[in-house]
């Protein structure tokens, strides 16, 4: 990703400083994180259903 400022030091740097700032990366990370949350729920439901089935 690289340091997103013109200077190689922190001197004079202010504002947003996170990795990927000013690019499309935060949006991509957010989309992936949302998909991971949904996937966790989906997989969790599958596991839970199988546990219930095995206890019938």
């Amino acid at each position: 990703m690289g340091f997103p400022f013109d200077t190689p030091t922190w001197d004079g740097v202010s504002g947003a400083i996170f990795i990927g700032m000013g690019s499309s990366a935060p949006g991509i990370y957010s989309l992936i994180a949302i998909v991971m949350c949904l996937a966790a729920l989906f997989l969790g439901q599958g596991k839970e259903s199988s546990k219930y089935k095995s206890h019938k």
Binding site: G15, I17, G22, L31, G44, Q45, E48, Y52, H55
Partner: protein, 461 residues
């Protein structure tokens, strides 16, 4: 002389800059510290729910509670925060009179993508959005924990998590946008005043729980064929009572975060105010929180003598006065809270006679007392300006009534509709065999008490 004046002016400017920085750091630290205090609420709810469950369900109740906390956080990051800032004027998503609301405003800083993302992550020039978001996220997680206890021992985990996301990410947030935000239509048009969130957090969560409970149904064995109820005692009352006390501790953080720190660009003035900009301070909260908790405990003790209901009474007392913690006199707080404590158990009994199995009394403690608290402020606080400034709407009984009707409707409708959808797709209730066997045995790969709960042997002489 001119040189001396210039030097003096420079020194004054430097002192002022230092003072401003100190104030900014204080404000940031203030909200930052409210967050771990509010997490104590969740430690309390965790202990409370696990203790209130029968031993066969203790861990599954804990898993459910922990997951609610974990899933509400990203939900509030990805859309809840945006809802709070976009919806104050209603579903039009237009800007309100203060110019700090509406979709366009929210799009500028409350989304985790695009230009707004600059304010949703580390930013050296923004020392407030992160901690504000954090405090609101914990308010959101609190609503989920309130709801969580009511449905223990028979709800599916993922179905529950989806409900928690809806409640924490949308339902209460919509209520807060309308009744807490200075541009909120309930505040602007009706003078709704709910400083400590008796209605917009507690009543919303309580009636959300009621909407879910109707579709979820009672635990097996709760009701007899003739409709009479059985008491399904939790396995660890001391754990439950301690959890309830931890919730009271955590509410100091919750109520602390309801204040707006003064002296910043986003503040209402130079000192602490309520979220509506009206005057208050930590002293006001201290008087009234303590008197409210005490009144609730004593009121509940009078007719129950039961530590579960006494500690629930502490919460009921606090909730009953939360709307007006900023302006009540402590003796009046004590009276209102003690009446809340007295009413609590009968309110829970009424619900039980209606065939609703609320395992921990969440609907009564948070829902019924939320209504009572909102209306009490409508009676005693009538005529007080609801906002800062000339021509502000005033608190009235009718305004509080409209506010609580809206809050109850938001909670109940979203809870009922979401849960009936989950029921239709088979994601709401666990199968009968699993409920009878115990949910820990069915789906938790750990044991709460692998060696049982044994009496300690006496020390040798």
């Amino acid at each position: 002389m001119e040189e001396q004046l210039a030097e003096l002016a420079a020194q004054v400017a430097a002192i002022e800059a230092k003072g401003n920085l100190t104030n900014t750091m204080f404000a940031e630290t203030y909200y930052y510290l409210s967050i771990p205090l509010m997490i104590i609420i969740h430690a309390g709810f965790l202990a409370y729910e696990m203790g209130a469950s029968r031993a066969k369900n203790a861990l599954s109740s804990g898993v459910k509670n922990i997951l609610a906390f974990a899933f509400v956080i990203p939900a509030f990051y990805f859309f809840g925060w945006w809802v709070y800032w976009a919806f104050p004027t209603g579903f039009s998503l237009s800007a309100g009179p203060n110019g700090i609301s509406g979709a366009e405003y929210a799009n500028g800083f409350a989304l985790a993508w695009g230009e707004a993302a600059l304010y949703m992550g580390p930013n050296t020039e923004d020392q407030i959005d992160g901690v504000f978001w954090g405090a609101f996220t914990l308010f959101a997680a609190t609503t989920a924990s309130i709801f969580s206890g009511a449905v223990i021992e028979r709800i599916q985990t993922v179905g529950f998590v989806i409900l928690a996301i809806i409640l924490g990410g949308f339902s209460w947030t919509l209520a807060a946008a309308w009744g807490w935000h200075a541009d909120g239509w309930l505040v602007q048009q009706w003078g709704v005043h709910d400083f400590g969130a008796a209605g917009l957090v507690h009543a919303v969560a309580g009636f959300f729980a009621l909407g879910v409970l109707i579709n979820l149904g009672p635990r097996i064995g709760k009701f007899n064929a003739d409709g009479t109820a059985n008491h399904l005692a939790g396995h660890n009352l001391p754990f439950t009572a301690t959890g309830l006390m931890l919730i009271v501790v955590g509410f100091w953080g919750f109520l602390m975060a309801c204040l707006v720190v003064g002296g910043e660009a986003w503040s209402w003035g130079g000192n602490f105010t309520t979220i509506y900009g009206t005057p208050t301070n930590l002293g006001a909260l201290t008087f009234n929180i303590l008197m409210g908790v005490a009144g609730g405990i004593i009121g509940a003790w009078l007719f129950t003598r039961d530590p579960f209901w006494m500690m629930s009474g502490a919460l009921a007392g606090l909730i009953s006065v939360a709307s007006g913690l900023d302006i009540y006199f402590p003796s009046l707080v004590f009276i209102i809270a003690m009446v809340a404590g007295i009413m609590l158990k009968p309110a829970a009994d009424v619900l039980e006679r209606m065939g609703i199995d609320d395992a921990v009394g969440a609907v009564s403690v948070h829902g019924t007392m939320g209504i009572y608290g909102m209306l009490m402020l409508g009676i005693f606080g009538s005529g007080y300006p609801a906002l800062l400034g000339e021509g502000a709407p005033v608190v009235s009984f009718m305004g509080q009534l409209v506010g609580i009707v809206v809050f109850v409707a938001i909670g109940f409708i979203t809870g009922y509709v979401t849960s009936i959808i989950l029921k239709m797709i088979g994601m709401l209730r666990v199968p009968e065999a699993a409920e009878i066997a115990g949910l820990d045995t069915v789906k938790v790969p750990a044991q709460a008490y692998p060696e049982g709960i044994m009496a300690s042997p006496p020390a040798s002489k």
